[in-house]
């Protein structure tokens, strides 16, 4: 089932949570809503679920207007950040809840319910915990039960609100992968909310980056990462170095250094910012093609990449990530005077500094 969101507006008092948001979720895709807290992503998810009513705009499920359809009739599965399991029920009863509250005519028989619940519990690999109570489970187990519970009613849409937000790093990673595999098996249209860019980029088919109640960019994870559309997206998706300068005649000028731009059509401007990720920077002993110069202030050589901080004469320290081989080849030492060369940079003209 596809979901279409048309010109949704939502205000809480003076605060605009969603400002004219439109979005289409294709049938069977796994879409991530990514953004900092307060960007409106959870509100949007709750509006899709019907837990919140928009002030204006429409929600369409498979082309049919569902804006005013009650939650219980939308056939959505909703997974909460804090699980929202029923504490007084066993794991089995939690998963069976959706089936057991159906009107008598539509309710499956006891045996059928039992069979379906056990099948779901096997799928989330927790069938051995059927008789346990939520209080006896770990966070990761609880969230898997919550997911099984929402899938029991065979929803046409699965919505997840920061599903891994309350879990620790290791469990998060396992569950992430597991959710992606599960989605591959079931192909149910899914939308999940997260503020963790790594999670969004790893799990989803497409990512929607949001900020201040509007959509900044929609695209495939690799596309968004490689070609961020706005300074905000660039900064939100990972560590980035900023170089303030000017654009004219197909060159970006920063201090005494100029760098030719691939995109020669960039409008000339006196205030431009170049964004370069640490791993898109190289260090050189020569000035050719450089963007800045400075002395090496710090070397952090743990892990697959060597992180080097270069302190320029003025401005913030520049962070460079080099491969181990390149680092050895250069034979860098603390205090060395070096040049920083960009392999790839995104220039935004007339952009103000975005704080995240």
């Amino acid at each position: 089932m596809s979901i279409e969101i048309r010109n949704i507006e939502k205000r809480f008092g003076n605060f605009t949570a969603l400002d004219n948001v439109s979005l289409k979720v294709e049938s069977g895709e796994l879409l991530a809503l990514l953004g900092p807290s307060g960007c409106g992503k959870t509100t949007l998810l709750r509006i899709i679920a019907g837990l919140e009513q928009p002030d204006a705009g429409q929600v369409l499920f498979s082309g049919a207007d569902t804006t005013h359809t009650h939650v219980s009739e939308r056939q959505v599965g909703f997974v909460f950040q804090h699980y929202a399991l029923f504490r007084h029920m066993t794991v089995f009863d939690n998963v069976a809840f959706g089936l057991s509250v159906r009107p008598r005519k539509l309710r499956p028989s006891r045996e059928e319910i039992r069979e379906r619940v056990m099948k779901l519990l096997k799928m989330v690999q927790l069938d051995w915990l059927a008789d346990a109570y939520p209080a006896q489970l770990s966070g990761g187990q609880r969230q898997r039960i919550a997911l099984a519970r929402s899938l029991a009613v065979e929803p046409s849409v699965l919505l997840l609100d920061e599903p891994f937000g309350a879990l620790d790093a290791k469990v998060r990673k396992d569950l992430r992968r597991w959710l992606r595999d599960l989605h591959h098996q079931m192909h149910i249209t899914s939308v999940f909310v997260t503020h963790d860019q790594e999670e969004a980029l790893e799990v989803s088919d497409r990512v929607v980056v949001m900020d201040h109640g509007h959509i900044e960019q929609i695209g495939r994870p690799d596309d968004i990462y490689e070609n961020p559309a706005t300074p905000f997206v660039t900064r939100f998706l990972g560590d980035v170095n900023l170089f303030h300068g000017r654009v004219d005649g197909g060159h970006f000028t920063h201090g005494n250094f100029a760098h030719a731009l691939d995109d020669g059509a960039q409008a000339a401007s006196d205030s431009a910012v170049a964004y370069v990720r640490p791993h898109d920077l190289d260090i050189s002993r020569l000035a050719g093609g450089a963007l800045a110069t400075g002395s090496i202030e710090h070397i952090h050589a743990v892990g697959p990449l060597v992180r080097i901080e270069v302190a320029p004469d003025s401005g913030d320290a520049i962070e460079v990530a080099l491969s181990k081989d390149r680092y050895r080849e250069l034979g860098l030492m603390l205090g060395d005077k070096v040049f920083v060369t960009p392999k790839k940079l995104s220039v935004f003209v007339g952009a103000q500094d975005y704080a995240i």
Partner: protein
């Protein structure tokens, strides 16, 4: 001996504070109870049985426990409703109503008794309209039940209220998403979650009501075999210097109260086990 094993704690004074707590409980609670049982044992089994099986005593015990149970049951329903309204809705004067719930705690029970009698007496504010309808409240067991409802209401409200407040809205949203209607959400999600608190509150209300004296004696009329409560029997025996007879009745009350509380605690233990908390 894991039972007495001392666990390491950052807070010192486990031994001292435990010892003091037990000493205090013993002094305040157990000592008088022990004295009571000891005193009544002076009576001997035959006279003891004779005293407590007298029709007036039996009737008064039945009345005391029957009315207390009824009052607790009514408060169980109405107290839950009051707590529900106080937690769920916003309305003008909510804080005032909230404070009002504690009034029975604070008010001297004799004052409550006089006030209730003034209202429900045959010539009282409400009594004069109820009398022609054949409803006698004051000087009947009905009046006793009303007085007991009054004094024990806060127990239910104040135990259920925090539990309802702590209930996450997400539980209801989850249930709605799964297709449950409002009644199903209440019956299958909210009510079971508050049940342990409701039982605790009702048990306390019952315990309070069985021992209530001040507010009841005014409205009860104290007619032997009809509206005479057990605590009053004890008082009247004391007034006739029948100390042993008084303690005998007191011991029976103690035993009954104790077994009722014990049964309720068992029930609570069972529900909390079901909730997977232990």
């Amino acid at each position: 001996m894991t039972f007495l094993a001392k666990r390491y704690s950052v807070l010192p004074g486990f031994g001292v504070s435990l010892g003091y707590a037990i000493f205090w409980l013993g002094l305040i609670v157990l000592l008088p109870l022990a004295a009571l049982i000891l005193k009544s044992s002076e009576l001997g089994w035959g006279p003891f049985w004779e005293t407590v099986s007298a029709p007036r005593v039996v009737a008064s015990l039945q009345l005391s426990f029957g009315t207390a149970a009824l009052a607790a049951l009514i408060n169980c329903v109405m107290g839950f409703l009051v707590a529900w309204v106080l937690v769920r809705y916003r309305f003008p004067g909510k804080r005032f109503v909230d404070a009002l719930v504690d009034l029975p705690f604070a008010l001297p029970t004799a004052v409550a008794g006089i006030a209730l009698t003034t209202i429900y007496a045959p010539n009282g504010w409400l009594g004069q309209y109820l009398e022609p309808l054949g409803l006698k409240v004051a000087f009947t067991p009905t009046g006793i039940v009303i007085a007991l409802i009054f004094v024990s209401l806060p127990f239910v409200v104040r135990t259920v209220q925090p539990v309802l407040e702590d209930l996450e809205g997400e539980l209801e949203e989850a249930a709605t998403c799964l297709g449950a209607d409002r009644w199903q959400i209440f019956r299958r999600v909210i009510f079971p979650a508050t049940l342990p608190a409701l039982m605790t509150g009702s048990a306390m209300a019952f315990a309070r009501a069985t021992g209530e004296f001040g507010s009841v004696i005014f409205i009860a009329g104290n007619i032997p075999l009809v509206s005479e409560i057990a605590p009053l029997i004890i008082i009247s025996k004391l007034e006739q210097y029948d100390y042993l007879g008084a303690t005998a009745v007191a011991v029976v009350m103690l035993m009954l109260s104790f077994s009722v509380l014990f049964a309720i605690n068992l029930l609570q233990w069972w529900t909390s086990r079901r909730h997977g908390m232990k």
